[in-house]
Symmetry: C2
């Protein structure tokens, strides 16, 4: 199995509501057959009916929980800006932004369906101009 | 907010067990402070204690469920191969691979913590040589 991810699909209660939320964050997607696709770097974030997703995956319940998305940004100020934008769009802050143990600054919000996003400034992780993230060589950091 | 994702964190019951599973799929990561980072294209897939994740995110429960990961591959045969590899590594098939409504072929498995992966061959989605996926222009497909 190659070491990559093609799509992340968020099961949502109301596709139109979820689409409106991400559009208010400034994201632009395409809706086709009640499914919304956002190009996000080399993969796609997809919004789809929670019931259809469960049915498609062959499971009964809503899934497993305990999965979060994160966007790393370029400054502490940008963390605050993104979280403020999300709140205006209808997000709930689950953890206000604060300094982190690794010398960064981060907070979490939940989207209208409860999907968690961490917005973080982490000076130890390299962000390329195109926004792609490179995991540092931890063995060289000691 | 920029339209990109930096990390996907899977909350797991046992980091060592989860790491062993992904390594059996052929993935190579780095473990630092009981956290495993896998570089996956321009983002990172992270394995972390489910309890620590919930605490870090400021939530009580395990999360929201209803989120899946997907890897698109290059042939029907590769779908079967990847799912067989996952089963050998300890995955549970939740939906055996079959032909899809969009003319593709796909199935789902759950990793040891129940996180769902869809493995799909979709002739309508472009996969670059580096594995990055480009959402098609649906408006041009009618």
């Amino acid at each position: 199995m190659e070491q990559r991810i093609s799509l992340i699909t968020l099961g949502v209660a109301d596709v139109a509501r979820a689409k409106a939320f991400y559009e208010q964050l400034g994201w632009q997607g395409q809706e086709v057959e009640e499914t919304v696709f956002f190009q996000a770097g080399g993969l796609a974030l997809v919004l789809w009916s929670r019931d259809k997703l469960a049915d498609d995956a062959g499971i009964e319940g809503p899934g497993t929980g305990a999965m979060t998305l994160a966007q790393n940004v370029r400054s502490q100020a940008e963390v605050d800006e993104v979280i403020a934008t999300a709140v205006k769009a209808g997000a709930t802050v689950t953890k206000p932004a604060r300094e982190t143990f690794y010398g960064g600054y981060a907070g979490y919000f939940a989207d209208p369906d409860g999907h968690l996003w961490e917005i973080a400034w982490n000076p130890g992780f390299t962000l390329a101009d195109d926004g792609s993230l490179t995991v540092p060589d931890f063995s060289a950091m000691n």
